[in-house]
């Protein structure tokens, strides 16, 4: 598949019997999940099933009530610089008073990159996400798709071992969403990053994922796990017409329907 399959077979992120409750309301219960190095795992489920919460636990922004999450064998005690989070609301996650270059620079400043080396890396990162000519634009001067690309560039500046993506393309129009799905897969292939991808779009989950985990609501727990054996690189037309894709889509839709009941 790609160079990261060489490292496969080793769990980068491991949820062990994770419970999470907010004042007596159980959000997650007994979550057991392993995400291998270089793997793209998608979390889907009806609204309120705790998929975003699970992602936040994996980033260290939330601590589990019981159980543990380990990253590369060590327990996660808080946010890590090698775990980057792509938020859905890119408009709120970018600094409106900084240009595109300045927003990417924030991650480099946080990592203590010397000033001299920043400009070249910023230019390379913006080029990587398709924004090479927009370094001096402010987020408010950019379209939604460009803003989300910019947020991804800032995350890549962290040189993350894992990317946590919380419905990253949910607010974008269909065409832009498909473009960004392909660009993200391209980036995943070249960087070998492990990706945890939360989405409510079932087709998107099958299209980008190596594995799709369906959560059951109240409390959130794993209801279904689908291995996606579709060939890579994926193609917006051919992959979505693949009988295997259609079979998986049927299976996932049936699961969500029964989960919502």
């Amino acid at each position: 598949m790609n160079d990261c399959s060489a490292r496969a077979g080793e769990a980068l992120i491991r949820f062990s019997k994770v419970d999470l409750a907010f004042s007596n309301r159980k959000i997650l219960e007994g979550l057991d999940l392993e995400i291998m190095r270089g793997e793209i795992v998608c979390l889907v489920g009806p609204s309120g099933c705790g998929k975003t919460t699970a992602l936040r636990v994996a980033t260290g922004l939330l601590a589990p009530t019981a159980g543990a999450v380990a990253f590369g064998g060590a327990p996660i005690l808080g946010p890590r610089r090698d775990v980057a989070i792509v938020f859905q609301d890119y408009g709120k996650a970018l600094l409106p008073w900084r240009t595109a270059a300045g927003n990417v620079s924030l991650a480099l400043e946080a990592a203590g990159t010397p000033r001299a080396g920043r400009a070249a890396r910023i230019a390379a990162l913006l080029a990587k996400v398709g924004l090479p000519h927009h370094a001096d634009k402010y987020p408010s001067q950019m379209s939604g798709g460009m803003q989300q690309r910019l947020q991804i560039a800032r995350c890549l500046a962290q040189e993350p071992a894992a990317l946590m993506m919380d419905e990253p393309f949910g607010a974008l129009d269909a065409m832009t969403r498909q473009e960004l799905q392909d660009e993200m897969l391209q980036i995943a292939t070249t960087t070998g990053a492990t990706i945890l991808f939360v989405t409510h779009d079932l087709e998107e989950a099958i299209y980008v994922g190596d594995r799709v985990i369906g959560l059951l609501p109240q409390p959130g727990r794993i209801g279904i796990e689908l291995k996606i054996g579709l060939p890579r690189p994926r193609d917006q037309i051919a992959t979505r017409e693949d009988p295997e894709f259609l079979k998986l889509r049927r299976e996932l839709y049936d699961f969500i329907k029964s989960a919502e009941r």
């Binding site: 980033t59 922004l61 808080g78 946010p79 890590r80 610089r81 775990v83 980057a84 989070i85 938020f87 609301d89 408009g91 709120k92 996650a93 600094l95 409106p96 008073w97 924030l106 991650a107 400043e109 946080a110 990592a111 402010y138 408010s140 001067q141 962290q158």
Partner: protein, 252 residues
């Protein structure tokens, strides 16, 4: 702002009426016709007394604004960013804040004596509160997602304040300073009228006690102009500095 020329009709008519009325009433200790006020104004401007008084008042006002604003800004950022500290200090703040600043004049007079220090101290007290309260609210109102981004990037406390919180809150902090600048001028003149023998407030008091209504009203006119100019400069600066920031969030 565009002014309709017709809006000048009423002030012009009032000035003419005041001229006629004041002249008809004969010499007075409390009112003077606008023409005499203007003459006194030009005279005070010419002999330098008005400008020296203005310098003294503005020096005290800005000195107090700088000290009070710095204290208010530092405490506002701290209380806004650290909720437990805010809860710890809330009762103290709410007990001290309602003290009218001019009520401190006797206390400050005993401690500091007449002069700039007295005035600066009282102006600083008055300016601390609006800056503290509005900065605290501005910092507390920073988009929570930006705070999460700061956590995710593992920015330290100082970097989080300098790179995220203060820039995000800056447009609203500037509004706080604009309000405090208005307060500083009012309080400075008040202290001068009450006790302090310097500045525009002392000037207007002296003119009144010397039974020179035209000079007294000339001072009043000038204080109005200074206040208007100060606010205009700050509004202009705000629009220049934060015109873009004010548009943040709007779709273009």
């Amino acid at each position: 702002m565009k002014w309709d020329g017709r809006a000048l009709v009423v002030p012009a008519a009032l000035l003419i009426l005041a001229e006629i009325g004041a002249r008809a009433g004969g010499p007075s200790d409390s009112v003077a016709p606008p023409s005499q006020v203007l003459t006194a104004f030009v005279g005070a401007l010419g002999d330098g007394s008005l400008l020296i008084a203005t310098r003294d008042t503005l020096a005290s006002a800005f000195g107090g604004l700088a000290i009070g604003g710095a204290i208010g800004l530092a405490l506002g950022v701290l209380f806004g960013a650290l909720r437990p500290l805010d809860r710890l200090m809330e009762v103290t703040i709410e007990l001290v804040r309602p003290i009218p600043s001019v009520a401190l004049i006797p206390v400050a007079l005993v401690a500091l004596g007449f002069g700039y220090r007295l005035e600066i101290a009282i102006v600083a007290f008055a300016c601390t509160w609006p800056v503290l309260l509005l900065t605290r609210a501005a910092v507390g109102g920073v988009e929570p997602r930006l705070i999460e981004v700061a956590h995710a990037l593992r920015l330290g406390f100082v970097a989080r304040i300098a790179k995220i919180i203060v820039p995000a809150a800056l447009p609203r902090i500037f509004v706080a300073f604009r309000l405090a600048a208005g307060v500083s001028l009012i309080v400075a003149v008040t202290v001068e009228i009450a006790v302090n023998p310097l500045g525009l407030g002392a000037g207007i008091m002296t003119a009144g006690q010397a039974l020179r209504p035209e000079l007294m009203l000339a001072y009043l006119l000038w204080i109005g102009i200074v206040g208007f100019a100060l606010n205009a400069v700050l509004v202009f600066a705000q629009q220049r500095l934060f015109g873009r920031a004010a548009l943040v969030g709007e779709v273009r």
